[in-house]
Homo-oligomer: 321 residues x 3
Amino acid sequence: MAGVAPLDRAGAHELSFLVHRRYLAAFRRSAAGVVLCAPEFAAEPGGPACRVVVPEPHVALLAIIPLLYPEPVWTSGIHATAVIGPGARWDDPVAIGPYVVLGAQVRLGRNVRVGASCVLGDGVVLGDDVLLHPHVVCYSGTVVGNRVTLHAGVRLGSDGFGYVPSRAGEPPRKIPQIGRCIVGDDVEIGANTTIDRGSVDDTVIGAGTKVDNLVQVGHNVHIGARCLIAGQAGIAGSTHLGDDVFLGGQAGVSDHVHIGRGARVLVQGGVIGDIDAGATVSGYPARSHRDVLRAQGVLSRLSRIAAELEALVHEPDDHGH
Amino acid sequence: MAGVAPLDRAGAHELSFLVHRRYLAAFRRSAAGVVLCAPEFAAEPGGPACRVVVPEPHVALLAIIPLLYPEPVWTSGIHATAVIGPGARWDDPVAIGPYVVLGAQVRLGRNVRVGASCVLGDGVVLGDDVLLHPHVVCYSGTVVGNRVTLHAGVRLGSDGFGYVPSRAGEPPRKIPQIGRCIVGDDVEIGANTTIDRGSVDDTVIGAGTKVDNLVQVGHNVHIGARCLIAGQAGIAGSTHLGDDVFLGGQAGVSDHVHIGRGARVLVQGGVIGDIDAGATVSGYPARSHRDVLRAQGVLSRLSRIAAELEALVHEPDDHGH
Amino acid sequence: MAGVAPLDRAGAHELSFLVHRRYLAAFRRSAAGVVLCAPEFAAEPGGPACRVVVPEPHVALLAIIPLLYPEPVWTSGIHATAVIGPGARWDDPVAIGPYVVLGAQVRLGRNVRVGASCVLGDGVVLGDDVLLHPHVVCYSGTVVGNRVTLHAGVRLGSDGFGYVPSRAGEPPRKIPQIGRCIVGDDVEIGANTTIDRGSVDDTVIGAGTKVDNLVQVGHNVHIGARCLIAGQAGIAGSTHLGDDVFLGGQAGVSDHVHIGRGARVLVQGGVIGDIDAGATVSGYPARSHRDVLRAQGVLSRLSRIAAELEALVHEPDDHGH
């Protein structure tokens, strides 16, 4: 096999996969050399004859892709243009790219790669096997664990949004933000995502948590382990998420809220109060997704009902009075 | 004429325009030398006497602005600080700014301008007449067509959000993202917008499509031609948009959804299922905007109705029993 | 005192604070040397004995934090790698970091600090005491007042989203964006926020206004003084906000809307029409928050009511016919 490709593009020397009924038409027309099939499609008529039936083709791909697409080899070294602050140190090998700026006392673990133009403020600590894509900025005091990947444009440790509101026409007064931003092991953070430092407490991202692009995490937020936070979700200050929480795209959580372990907030859900462990919520204000769908159903029947009702209410005599 | 200015600021040597009734008060007080007027305002009493009546003043401005505000002339050349990878090549003239980093085998067309600190990964291809404002990052394998403009902080080709969910306390496992990000001709992409590479398939932005700031486009998304995607909209993985689709600001579209040609999703609309060609939808879950407004009307009458109803339901004896 | 810490982490040499009942459990277990207490907790049993009772502990902290955490001293100077355009000038002292690029005729006031890799286009003007964190980009013509802080990744003055819609399959035509982005005194703008230049008019951020991370501000928007704009909020083109307006996280405002002085748009509120001064609104389309909560209450009672109603409507004979 020369590579992996979707059913509609794969050729005789490529591997493809069939995981859902919606791809059956593409499967029947596919020229793929081999197809990983979920069991329910093992005997599907038409399509490539050479099938490997596996319970979860997506998981099987995890083992195959690294063989067909080996990670590019990286070369260790400090680019001549990198600006290294006093007291910065690291465990070889590391790769520090062009135009990188490391502040004073920065500390990098082994196998750390820092992409072009990244800026690490004074005292930033990165663990082992950390990959920073280009253009990451970590403010001073940021602490990052092992095996962490930060994508382009991530900002860690920026000041939280804390002000004493305006009185008598004075501008709002800034509350100094002196906490840290702490990122656990095995975390991945998507492009242009921003995570504020704590105000006095710290902002903490738990081990194994994955954060998508353009997500906003406010000051003093604590996110548990193994959470999945989808694109453009936002978490306001001092909110806590338990372990294994899922936030859908554009979901928002107000400040000082607690979301229980394993809860799921669906796409665009707006959470303004605590959510029980294991709950699935949606809508604004977020409530049980089942209730949201039921309410939608009722609403759509309501125009009709309302008309009948108003007749009923306004003509009581018709009912026997 | 020395320039174009809004009605309230334009002076005797400036051109202004009147396109909507809401600007009539400003028109009457305006000192503009000349005003482009829509036909319905041609005989409007008061205001500047020198009027040019045109069916669409905004469109007329398209022809005038380039005369009064010529595009700044650019100077070709490679800045001495640019880091150029092995095998990178281009068609002269091009302008490559300070602190730009081009990876191996990067290919640029004619009249390409790359702003300060841009980073293009290995094998990135840009067509002719492409303008990259400062701080754009294109991950390896990104392909950009002709006459494309990318604004500051755009990230193309970052990894999609693909994980096998956590089991038994293990961190979620990353699904390698090996597809490309492909941007068609005549596309413009706004500041800090992020567009992921495909997982196995590619992510594709159709020709002539315009994308605003802070938009998120997930892996394997296909956007058709001539779409308009407003600020902070988000499109989750594997969703397809037909040609001429409009997404309003902060609109969100779930994964694996199909939006038909010419459909319109209004501000903040949350799409979780397929949308017909030509439909106009809003709300969450997004449905016909007409139905949303009707449901809102019913809801606002509902408090009153509900009170009357509960009386009716709970006191049936009053109705003759 | 050696520092400030939250109740659960403060030691004998640290100061902490108690502002809300929800922190009482942490207070009782706290080892803090001194606790700033709101008056209602002055005589609270248990917890640290050394208490300073102040009406507003958060405000008291504003005076204490700068003593315990003095701002880092900065050193003036122009880094050797900075690229300075012709005619750029400043009032000493200033600090210009590594890999900064200043365009032609840039003008900086006194005590301006420009972080690593910032790019200021031709003619950009910054007032006195301005702090640019790393990776800020200001397009040409941007004007920034005194005592302004811009966080990492802020983009000021990018082109607004203005196109003449597609006709007959032609790509949409760009309307040239020739206005400016003007930021008043005492403004702070959060990480990765984008503020477009005006189309013909200017985009204006009023004095004392604070903007959080990942906010989008469209062309020709006017924001009044002392507004607070929370994370991921978005404001579409030509909309005006009065003074002292609050936008909650992920709130969105359509184009050409006017929001009155002191109005509050709650988390995720979607404003599509004018809002009165002093109003508090939420939901989509945004309306009085009180009405939204009442409608929610009615909706949740509705499933029950609807069932009873349909019985009532469809069996009118039971009522005496």
